[in-house]
């Protein structure tokens, strides 16, 4: 990882050069880690700072860098220069396309069967609901980032708007989940338009920072507006969802009693599972349909070249605004679902890390690819579960993964940005039609 890429000079080969590079890398690592890792500081009980040395860890880290850069260099020489097209045997290629064609339906059928297979495993069901929530958020953000090419770093703001809309409407006015769900989406879309209208004229990375600032503003307002939102304590006692008015509990009016089956707390989990699955599939379906409409085509064109878009007479502001509002609306839906699933929400759940996680899912999945996003959400949330309890390390690995993906597969693991429309056959145009001055 630390092996500096030699852009200008030809990569030196041979054992001495290899060791020289590794030695330099290890030296850099030694200086970098010397104070940050070699010395550990901690505030004592009286507020006085103490420190102790950790030379063992320092030495092993430097050793890892030394060994790692030798391995990296050998791998690089073994794989050969990057950027060359590899020839894939036709058999493997047709196999891949076969897998690609049937992977999505197979996954969908498996997902539908998850509650049946894992009926008694509460942990897996909870995890599956979490994964599906992120799949939905990823698909929602995919409209903004993957299709329209607008880098949105504050997506979590719309998630928060949705969650708080449902939580406050339900706890203050007692409105049902099914009334609040569309309202949460509409409110989030409204905020999307409100933010989007002035800022969407900005260039890519300016837009990213502004959306980031917007996300932080929403979070800070939620923390500080204590009379409305409960501040850092959050909102608790959010009503559970009902099966279109029939509660899923152990009472006489409950769904179990009406159906005449024995009550089990798993029913609610399974109901939540199918609810988020339906919401996620709705997001997917709307996105796929929108991609075939002129507005979807305009989004993709915008992603590829904004100037050309403007030249073709596409109103870039409205086009961006619809993408922003659509993405925000799905974020709002997901937020309302999150609130009803948790029963408790607080500003802690809506930090920048959450935005970055959803963004990483979209990027990892290959911006624009629906299947890729779903698989990336599965990999990401599953990976996070492996690092459960190691809060610091898991974000460390997450950050490294983001950098490495950008370097090795900037189009995502399942890169797929094929335009939805293209000319099927090459057309020859007579030269007198394209001559300058004749249009």
């Amino acid at each position: 990882m630390t092996a500096p890429s030699t852009n200008t000079a030809k990569p030196a080969t041979g054992i001495p050069a290899l060791f020289k590079t590794a030695f330099i890398n290890a030296l850099v690592a030694l200086v970098l880690f010397s104070l940050m890792v070699g010395i550990r500081t901690e505030a004592g009980s009286d507020g006085q700072l103490t420190y102790w040395t950790r030379f063992g860890e320092l030495a092993s880290l430097v050793g890892i860098v030394f060994g790692g850069s030798i391995v990296m260099e050998l791998l690089r020489q073994w794989i050969g220069p990057t950027g060359t097209e590899k020839l894939v045997p036709p058999a493997i290629r047709s196999g891949m396309s076969f897998v690609g064609r049937y992977l999505a339906p197979a996954l969908l059928i498996f997902t539908l069967l998850v509650p049946v297979i894992f009926y008694n495993q509460r942990y897996i069901l909870d995890l599956a609901i979490l994964v599906l929530t992120y799949v939905m958020l990823g698909w929602g953000l995919n409209v903004v980032v993957g299709l329209a090419g607008l880098l949105d770093l504050g997506y979590v703001a719309f998630y928060a708007v949705g969650a708080y809309s449902y939580a406050l409407l339900a706890t203050n006015f007692g409105w049902s989940f099914w009334v609040c769900l569309p309202l949460a989406g509409i409110l989030a879309a409204f905020w999307g338009v409100l933010l989007g209208f002035p800022v969407l004229r900005l260039r890519g990375d300016y837009l990213a920072i502004v959306t980031l600032a917007f996300g932080e503003i929403i979070r800070l307002v939620i923390i500080n507006w204590q009379s409305l939102t409960g501040g850092p304590n959050g909102v608790s006692g959010i009503p559970r969802p009902t099966f279109f008015g029939i509660p899923l509990d152990n009472s006489d009016d409950g769904l179990a009693a009406k159906l005449g089956i024995e009550y089990s707390s798993t029913h609610r989990i399974i109901f939540l599972f199918y609810l988020i699955l339906a919401l996620a599939l709705l997001t997917n379906w709307v996105t796929i349909r929108l991609r075939r409409l002129p507005i979807g085509r305009a989004w993709e064109a915008l992603r590829e070249d904004e100037v050309a878009c403007r030249a073709l007479g596409i109103n870039t502001t409205t086009t961006k605004l619809t993408a922003f509002a659509t993405g925000a609306m799905f974020g709002g839906f997901a937020g309302a679902f999150f609130a009803t699933r948790q029963g408790f929400i607080s500003p802690e759940s809506f930090t920048f890390q959450e935005s970055a996680l959803v963004l990483a899912i979209v990027v990892l999945g290959g911006m624009g690819s629906q299947l890729g996003v779903a698989l990336a959400a599965l990999a990401m949330i599953g990976g996070f579960e492996l690092f459960r309890g190691l809060e610091g390390y898991r974000m460390l690995v997450f950050g490294m993964a983001m950098v490495l993906i950008m370097i090795w597969r900037p189009r995502g693991l399942i890169g797929h940005r094929a335009p939805t429309v293209y000319l099927t056959k090459a057309q020859a145009i007579s030269s007198d039609l394209v001559k300058e001055g004749h249009g």
Binding site: T2, P4, S5, N7, V28, V31, L32, S34, L35, M36, V37, I39, R40, T41, E42, A43, G47, Q48, L49, Y51, G149, L151, P198, V199, R201, L202, R203, G204, D205, Y206, A208, I209, V210, L212, A213, F214, E216, I217, L220, V221, N224, V307, A308, F352, Q353, L359, A360, V363, G392, Y393, M395, L396, F398, G399, M400, M402, V403, M406, I407, P410
Partner: protein, 305 residues
Amino acid sequence: MDYFAQQLINGLVLGSIYGLIAIGYTMVYGIVGMINFAHGDVFMIGGFIALITFLILVSLGLTAIPVILLVVLLVSMAITALYGWTIERIAYRPLRHSFRLAPMLSAIGMSFVLTNYSQVAQGARVKPIPPFITGGYTLHESTDGFVIQLSNIQIMVVLTTIVLLAIFTWLVSRTRLGRDMRACEQDQTMAALLGVNVDRTISMTFVIGAALAAVAGLMYLLYYGLVDFFMGFVAGIKAFTAAVLGGIGSLPGAMLGGLAIGLIETFWSAYFSVEYKDVAAFSILIVVLIFMPTGLLGRPEVEKV
């Protein structure tokens, strides 16, 4: 009036710190055209290295304050500069010709790496140091007992900033490196054709930016008496706001923007509400970008096909 004057002093000191960080953003944006999202965390690393060096020196028995300060300053500048160099080498250089959003995403990843690296390496708790530079001057005492204080540390922060800015301005306007930097800013291909080592110049930009951020980290440590692993995020966004407010790509603009943000934040906390001071700073970012995208001293950007 006295209250106002005191806030003015506090705001200028805070603004100096923001300005030092903002220079790193504006330089990198000017040359590479990317927002170095990890720069706020470089500032945090600088603060940590200053703290650790300081601890070691004190425990070694050094008592001469100027010597300690000088050593801490140099060590933290040197190591943080190496951090800046390494970050550019690992996370940004391979992406220089990648698609538009790639460097930004890589920078976000790098920012997570740095934040959590220092959390893992140094623990999540806030690290306080005892007041190191004490004393100060009473400028004015009004009849109702309100005192305008100017502490030594405030004087030191502002003086250091001025001296560093002078050195930095000289570096950019008078040296070979500065000329190379300005050439790369205008046209990298042409600069390369004329014999400028573009890779090295970009590396040096990151090194200088990181060194200035390290100074800001040290100042923050001395002024507030604490560092923690999360301080880079908010400080980074505010410094970026400062760079945008001053006109991104413009060096005097970054300093001017830093001072403006420092003053606005201080006055907002003093006269309106402390809770919403970050909201005020972020709102300014949005408002400036909407109504004045080129900032105070920036040049308008023309998009060519």
